[in-house]
Each structure stands twice: as structure tokens, then as C-alpha cells.
């Protein structure tokens, strides 16, 4: 027969929530100062980038300004929800993301604020930043075509529409469509050629798949070198990292493949790592100072050391292993907020095209 528990067991069981609280507050103490809204000399960075070199960058900024940096890294979509939940009390000062479309989303959700800075405007080309100063592009990345040098002529892959032809039937390796770089690429095609043409392009690429998408960009490049396909779509720095890797097999992978900036049509597809000042930034001046630091020669050089992106300002030495951009390279002049505006349409088109 069921009998209810008696009072003493009740007391014992009631301990559980109390211990819950104790455990929480106990674990909290080491970081009790980590997150509090700061009054002076502090900068809270919400970053969707994940690089060890960013820590060195923060340290350098601390050393130069005396401003204490606290960073919180997470996926962009999750950071956005976190910031919404924090509302007015959000400690975020600066938002960093590796994609302009992402920053546009934060802007669209009212989580950024316009910044007017002569230093930033002088250093960063106008097309790489928001006209109102809601975000600033800080480093460039190119979506490129990596091809098998023994099977493909450079002239056959000098723009992305080339890949949609019968020439490459069963020859394309590419990652999943929900990857932000693929979304940005299609967003540009939508803007330039319209939704219908973009859908045709996506469908033709799917028809030309050598295999179903899986893995990251690096895996697609390796697949080209191994002979599973002759062309892959990948960001430039993944190829650069293979070329300068400590592993022999990686360097061989790079040496049997080459990289096309696919710039023949409307110029190479550019995206940026970008920064913004948060709408409710408690330390606005520090936030602006940090963005200006990132746009300074020292900041620019540090920002790209590990990532092998290209600096946005002129005259900054390139990181080790990164080749100079071709002198005659034409870059797309598309305003980058388009990448964010068209992102949903791009995913819908991919879904309908059956691009996993």
C-alpha cells in the first residue's frame, strides 16, 4: 500500500533545493566579478569568432589602453538570443562575427548602434562597412573555387556560374547549404541575377554534385586532391592553411590543387569579419576605441595572423603563408548588408533545390 513519506524524510528531501542554491553560489564565486556591468575601464566582447589569436589581440588592447577585456564566445544565433534576453542590462559592448550577414541580423534586431568615427571611416573602404556605422568590416575572406590542376584549366573556373554547366557534371564537392558562407554566396547571386536565376544555379550545382555534402571546406579540398571530384567551393584561407600545414599530406593536397578567386563576372565574392558597438553598451567609448584598435595597423596584423584572412586596410603586412592578392583582382562591389537581407531566401532556395 502507498503511504506518504513522513516529516523527517520530507525535511531531508527538502534539502535538495537548498543544496542546489548552495552548489550554484559556491561555483559562482570564482567568477563573481567576471560579468558585472562595468563602470570604468572594462570592455565586454561578445564574439562569434573562435581563435586563440583573438586572446592575444585582447591582451594587446589591454596593454595599450589599460582597459580590461572580457570575452564571451558562442555561435552567432545563440549570442543574439542571449543579448535579447539580457535586454537593457546586457553587458555587451562589442559584437564580433565572421560574417557581414550576421552583423546585419544583430542590427535588424536593434542590438547595434550607429558609430561615427573618423579613424574607422578613413581606414575601412566604404563598401566594407554599414553606411550608418552600425558595423565595420575588419578582415576580408573570399569564397573561391579550388580545382584539380591536372583536370581543370584555370579559365574553366573563373566565375561561380561556370560550375553550373554540364562541364562539371558529377565533379563538384561542396559542404552543406546551411553553412553561412554558402548562404552568403547565394545571397549575392540572388541580388545580382534575381531569385529565379539563383534557384537555377543552385539546382544545377546540385545536379553536378560528386557526392552528398558533408564535412567542412577543408574536407572538400582534400576530396579534390584525392580525386573524388575535380572542383570544390571553399574559403581561401582553408586552402592557405593546408599549404602551410605542418603535415606533409596537407602540403601535398595544396600542391595538387589551385585556387581561383572566381572574379570574372562581377568580381570575387567577398565577406568580412566585422565588429559593431552594442546598442546598450555600458562602455561605449571603450567599444569604439577597440574597433579603432582593430582597424589600426597593429590590430589588423594581429586579427589575421591565425585566420589567414586579408586585412581591410592598405599597407598591412600579410600573415605568414598567405599569398598576395592578384594585382588585377576585381572584388565584388555589392553592399554587404545584402548578404544578411537575402539569407532566408537563400536557404529557402537551397532547401527547394535539394542541397542538403
Amino acid at each position: 500500500m502507498f503511504r506518504p513519506l513522513k516529516s523527517r524524510s520530507l525535511a531531508w528531501l527538502a534539502l535538495a533545493p537548498a543544496l542546489f542554491a548552495a552548489a550554484c553560489s559556491g561555483a559562482e564565486s570564482p567568477a563573481s566579478s567576471a560579468d558585472q556591468p562595468a563602470t570604468h575601464g572594462v570592455l565586454n566582447i561578445y564574439s562569434a569568432r573562435h581563435y586563440d589569436s583573438d586572446k592575444a589581440l585582447y591582451d594587446a588592447f589591454e596593454a595599450e589602453t589599460g582597459i580590461k577585456v572580457r570575452a564571451r564566445e558562442a555561435g552567432a544565433a545563440q549570442l543574439l538570443e542571449t543579448m535579447k534576453a539580457e535586454g537593457d542590462a546586457s553587458p555587451a559592448d562589442v559584437i564580433l562575427a565572421s560574417d557581414a550577414g550576421t552583423l546585419w541580423r544583430f542590427q535588424d534586431a536593434g542590438l547595434t548602434q550607429p558609430v561615427q568615427s573618423d579613424a574607422l571611416e578613413a581606414a575601412i573602404p566604404a563598401r566594407l562597412r554599414d553606411p550608418d556605422g552600425n558595423w565595420f568590416g575588419l578582415a576580408k575572406r573570399f569564397r573561391t573555387i579550388v580545382y584539380d590542376i591536372n583536370a581543370v584549366e584555370p579559365g574553366e573556373v573563373d566565375e561561380f556560374v561556370d560550375l553550373a554547366t554540364a562541364r562539371f557534371e558529377g565533379e563538384i564537392c561542396v559542404r552543406s547549404s546551411s553553412n553561412i558562407y554558402n548562404l552568403s554566396l547565394l545571397s549575392e547571386l540572388i541580388e545580382r541575377n534575381g531569385e529565379e536565376a539563383a534557384a537555377d544555379w543552385a539546382g544545377a550545382i546540385v545536379d553536378n554534385f560528386a557526392r552528398d555534402p558533408a564535412g567542412g571546406d577543408t574536407e572538400q579540398i582534400r576530396a579534390v586532391a584525392a580525386g573524388a571530384c575535380t572542383v570544390a567551393i571553399a574559403n581561401h584561407y582553408y586552402w592557405v592553411r593546408l599549404a602551410s600545414s605542418g603535415a606533409q599530406a596537407d602540403r601535398e593536397t595544396a600542391s595538387t590543387t589551385a585556387l581561383s578567386f572566381a572574379s570574372a563576372g562581377n568580381g570575387a565574392h567577398v565577406n568580412v569579419t566585422a565588429g559593431a558597438v552594442a546598442a546598450n553598451s555600458p562602455n561605449r567609448e571603450n567599444a569604439v576605441a577597440f574597433l579603432e584598435f582593430l582597424a589600426s595597423p597593429v590590430g589588423q596584423a594581429m586579427l589575421v595572423t591565425e585566420t589567414k584572412e586579408y586585412p581591410v586596410t592598405a599597407g598591412v603586412p600579410l600573415p605568414e603563408g598567405l599569398m598576395e592578392l592578384p594585382a588585377d583582382l576585381s572584388e565584388s562591389d555589392l553592399p554587404l548588408d545584402v548578404l544578411g537581407r537575402n539569407q532566408i531566401t537563400a536557404q529557402q532556395i537551397y532547401d527547394r533545390a535539394g542541397w542538403p
Binding site: 513522513k6 531531508w12 560579468d35 552567432a76 548562404l183 564535412g215 574536407e219 603535415a247 532566408i344
Partner: protein, 539 residues
């Protein structure tokens, strides 16, 4: 006469019956809030354009893929875990004592890490296929090779990552199966396989199914492995709705289907457990005598255990270590991340354990206990990021902002909401196997409830509780999405570091934090294994 003794406790000291349910009600509330908040936001706000699009394109195919994935993964897990647990518990063969704990090790390796490692091993540019091409002069497209980036591939990876749940619960159950039943079967001339089929498995069934339910809920919520291997499960679709479409509410609505799956699994588990036929009937315990498997059969047993260990741990972990050495890409110093990981895992496991044991002790006592268990299961089947989102929604409804130390409290809360099921399940399964007559006897003798818990329930639940504590600790050690979302600034865990490298496609640098997670998980695994082999009552 017994009735007189029961009334020894004066009525005046006993609180009204409903107050005994208060802790349980509180726990249910704590556990259910994030799930319910996420579900509500999904229901109320998740029906927009994104949802319509998902509904029109791939909702049904992703749901079907998920169900197929669960079925195949479940079958594989059973095929791996039950023979392994049976062999190491009942027989003596070369290496048995080592395999006993080696077989738990895959528990320490996160599924997404195994997926990355296997992808690298099996891909067209990986060592296996490269070797084949070198040896044969074939081109990459001239031969067939098993594709790890497929539904069966994903099921294989998840099965070798998750089988320890069943291995652990089954082993605990086999270890404590009454020797009488087994001896009787043997004396009656039952062949070993039929002892397993007709005596041991039926008796261990609640424990086995409990472990399997956990493993499958874990598989349903997996994003890392499925996402990397390119298999479109519900959870992968959910994250696409969130990141590509920026529609967190639509993602929460997709989580409702995962919730339904969890409730379904829970219902199946209850259905099979029933009320009778699973309790030990004899109180005669004696040291287990393990017949020696001689000659070929002994080596066959060792070979099977060795293969399982190699697939679940040895091979993928060695591959990671190899890559790290080959490229010399080590990443940064992980001392701080290790400390943070241990702190969070201890705090989270402690809280979840207390809640879990409370639920387990109440388990057979009424609808509220079932509700608490359901709340815990719901949390376990939903990806951590969705629970975290639910926590944030609940918080903003309460008018609170997630800033300062509150973030940490919420993280522990979400850990509890997510993982308590993993703790309650093994303990409850252990309790369920005890003869109810014991508790009835104690009650008849007028033992106060607290003493009854201390002297009867807890010792019975001991082996289950050990398993629970271990699973909780290791789970939270591996946890990624909620930690990523909610941890305070500068609180990086090993899993967060590993994710950072892996998402940047630096597999070699990701290897080291992965190996550290594994190492940190090893200590309790070994302790547990040592205790577990001594947990046989009466021996």
C-alpha cells in the same frame, strides 16, 4: 498485529499527506520550466514563415530520418552492449578484468568528437582509402567504400559512442541478478545462451531498457555528429531553422517533436516494465563463480570485447592523437579550461544527482513522481541549446535579465533540467529490481521513512547511484551547446575549446582538449568500475 506496530509513529507528528509531495512538486517545476517555456514559445510564436517553409519542405523527411536513426542505433547498441556486459560479468576469459572497465571508456568521448575522427579516418582523403589507392592503383571513384556520411554511418558512430549506457546498466543488473535463478537454470541444463535469453535478460530488462532509453534520447538530441556527417535529422533541421532562418521560435516548435519522441520512449519503457516479473525473488546471494571460457571461445570473447573497445575508443582516439602529433598544431594552454570544466561538471552533477535520487526514491509513488520523471525526460530529449533558450524565455517572463552571476546559476539549472533523467533512470532501475517485500517489511516494522531510505533504498540503489553519478559528471563534462550559450565571460570549458577548433576545421588542435575531456572522464570511470565490481551484495 503488524497494523498495531505501524501506528507507533504518533499521528500528531506527521504532516498532512500532501506536504510530502512538496519537494517533488518543486523539482518538477524546476525541471519543467525550461522545457515548457521553450515549448510555449514554439507553440505561440513558432508558426511563422519559417515553420511553413519547413512544413512544406522537409519536416516529415527529417522526422522519418530521426525515427529510423533511433531504431537502427538502438538495435546496434543492444547488439554491442548486452553480449559485452554478459561476457565480462559471467565468464572468465583472457583480459576480462581489463575489458570490464575498458568497455566503459567510450562514455568519456563526446559523440561529435567520434564523428569528426571517424570522418577523417573513413573519408576519401583519409588514411584507409589513401592506403587502398596506393596499394591498388585505383582512382578515388573506382571502388566502393562504406560511406560514413550516411544514415547507417551516423548510427554506427552514435552506437559506439552511446552503448556504454546500456553496458553499464546491464552490467550492474547482471552483477546483482540473484545467483539462484542463474544456478537453477544451469542445473536444469539450460545452455549459456538460453540462460542469457531466458533468465538474465528478462531479469535485467528494466535496467537495459532504462539505459537504452537514455542512449536514444541522447541520440535524438545529437547535433554535433549528425551535423558533421551531413545526416538531416530533426535536430539538424532545428539548428538550421535557428541559424539560417534566425527563427528561434520555429526551432523551439521543432523541439516539440523531439519532446513527443521522448514521451513515446518513456511510455514504451513503462509499458515493458510493467509491475511484475522483474523483482529479485531470492535473498540468497553468493560469490559469483565465473566459468572459464577455454581455448578458442575465450579468445573469441576477448576478441569481441577488444573490437568493441577499439571501435568506440581506441581507434578514434588514437587517430586524434596521431593528427595532433603529425601537424604539431597544439592550440593554446588548456589548464584554465580543465579547471572550469571540472568545477561546472561537479556542481552540475551534484545538483542533478540530488534531484535525480529524489525522483528515484519517489518513483513508484503516484502521478506527481511520474510527472517529475516526464519533465526530466523531456529535458533530456531536447538539445541543450533549446533548453537554454527556454531558460532565457522563462527568465525574461519573470522580468529578470541574465547578467552577472545569475548566468552561472542558470547554467547549473539548465544542466539539471537537461541531465537529471540520466541520473534518475539508473537509480530507479536499480530500485525497481529490489523485492518490494523488503520495503514492505520495513514499513510493517515501523521503520521511520528516513531510516528506510538510508538503510534499505540507498544500499539497494547503490550500484545504480554510482552509475548515475558517473554518467552525470561525464555528460556535463562533454556538454556543449548550453554551456556555450550561458557560461559567463571567460569561463571556457574543454568542450568549448574543442568546439572552437573543430568549427574552425582545426581537427588537430581540437584533438588535445578532446583527449583531456576523455582523461578527465576516465578518473571517475575507473573508480566506478572498481566499485561496481565489488557492489555485489552478499559476496
Amino acid at each position: 498485529m503488524a497494523i498495531d506496530i505501524v501506528t507507533v509513529v504518533p499521528r500528531s507528528l506527521a504532516l498532512p499527506a500532501w506536504t510530502a509531495q512538496l519537494p517533488l512538486a518543486l523539482i518538477t517545476l524546476v525541471l519543467a520550466t525550461p522545457v515548457l517555456a521553450a515549448a510555449l514559445s514554439g507553440l505561440l510564436a513558432g508558426g511563422g514563415e519559417t515553420w511553413q517553409h519547413i512544413l512544406a519542405t522537409d519536416l516529415w523527411s527529417t522526422t522519418l530520418t530521426t525515427i529510423l536513426m533511433l531504431a537502427l542505433t538502438g538495435a546496434l547498441i543492444l547488439a554491442i552492449a548486452i553480449p559485452a556486459a554478459w561476457l565480462v560479468t559471467m565468464y572468465s576469459f583472457p583480459g576480462r578484468a581489463i575489458f570490464e572497465w575498458l568497455l566503459i571508456l567510450p562514455l568519456a568521448a563526446p559523440g561529435y568528437v567520434l564523428a569528426i575522427s571517424y570522418y577523417d579516418l573513413m573519408s576519401v582523403s583519409g588514411p584507409l582509402q589513401s592506403a587502398i589507392r596506393k596499394a591498388t592503383d585505383w582512382g578515388a571513384r573506382d571502388y566502393w567504400f562504406p560511406d560514413i556520411t550516411s544514415l547507417p554511418g551516423l548510427c554506427f558512430v552514435l552506437a559506439v559512442a552511446l552503448y556504454p549506457y546500456v553496458y553499464l546498466t546491464a552490467r550492474a543488473a547482471f552483477t546483482t541478478t540473484s545467483i539462484c535463478a542463474i544456478d537453477a537454470a544451469r542445473t536444469l541444463g539450460a545452455r549459456p545462451v538460453s540462460v542469457l535469453w531466458r533468465v538474465a535478460i528478462p531479469s535485467a530488462r528494466p535496467a537495459i531498457v532504462a539505459g537504452l532509453t537514455l542512449a536514444l534520447m541522447e541520440a535524438a538530441a545529437d547535433y554535433g555528429a549528425a551535423g558533421f556527417l551531413g545526416v538531416r535529422t530533426l535536430t539538424v533541421g532545428l539548428f538550421r531553422a535557428w541559424s539560417s532562418y534566425g527563427d528561434a521560435a520555429a526551432a523551439a516548435r521543432m523541439a516539440l517533436i523531439l519532446l513527443a519522441l521522448a514521451i513515446g520512449l518513456q511510455w514504451l519503457e513503462r509499458l515493458q516494465r510493467g509491475e511484475a516479473g522483474v523483482q529479485a525473488t531470492s535473498k540468497r546471494w553468493q560469490a559469483l563463480e565465473r566459468p572459464r571460457l577455454a581455448g578458442a571461445s575465450g579468445w573469441l570473447a576477448a576478441g569481441f570485447c577488444g573490437l568493441v573497445f577499439a571501435l568506440g575508443f581506441g581507434l578514434p582516439v588514437l587517430r586524434l592523437g596521431w593528427i595532433a602529433l603529425e601537424t604539431g598544431d597544439h592550440g593554446a594552454n588548456f589548464g584554465g579550461a580543465l579547471v572550469t570544466s571540472l568545477l561546472l561538471a561537479s556542481a552540475g552533477a551534484g545538483v542533478s544527482f540530488l534531484i535525480g535520487i529524489t525522483i528515484a526514491l519517489y518513483a513508484r509513488r503516484g502521478w506527481l513522481a511520474r510527472l517529475a520523471k516526464l519533465a526530466a525526460s523531456g529535458g533530456y530529449a531536447v538539445p541543450g541549446a533549446v533548453l537554454a533558450l527556454g531558460g532565457l524565455v522563462a527568465l525574461s517572463q519573470m522580468g529578470l535579465n541574465m547578467a552577472g552571476g545569475l548566468a552561472l546559476l542558470i547554467l547549473i539549472w539548465i544542466y539539471a533540467a537537461r541531465f537529471t533523467a540520466a541520473g534518475a533512470q539508473p537509480m530507479e532501475a536499480a530500485l525497481a529490481r529490489a523485492p518490494r517485500s523488503m520495503g514492505d517489511a520495513a514499513r510493517a516494522l515501523g521503520t521511520p521513512p528516513l531510516q528506510r531510505i538510508w538503510r534499505i533504498d540507498l544500499p539497494i540503489a547503490f550500484s545504480g547511484a554510482l552509475v548515475a553519478a558517473l554518467i552525470l559528471f561525464v555528460e556535463i563534462l562533454k556538454e556543449l551547446p548550453a554551456t556555450l550559450m550561458l557560461r559567463p565571460a571567460n569561463w571556457d570549458t574543454l568542450a568549448v575549446r574543442a568546439y572552437a577548433y573543430a568549427s574552425d576545421e582545426r581537427l588537430a588542435a581540437a584533438a588535445l582538449p578532446c583527449l583531456l575531456i576523455t582523461a578527465a572522464g576516465l578518473v571517475p570511470v575507473i573508480l566506478l568500475s572498481w566499485r561496481l565490481s565489488r557492489a555485489r551484495p552478499g559476496s
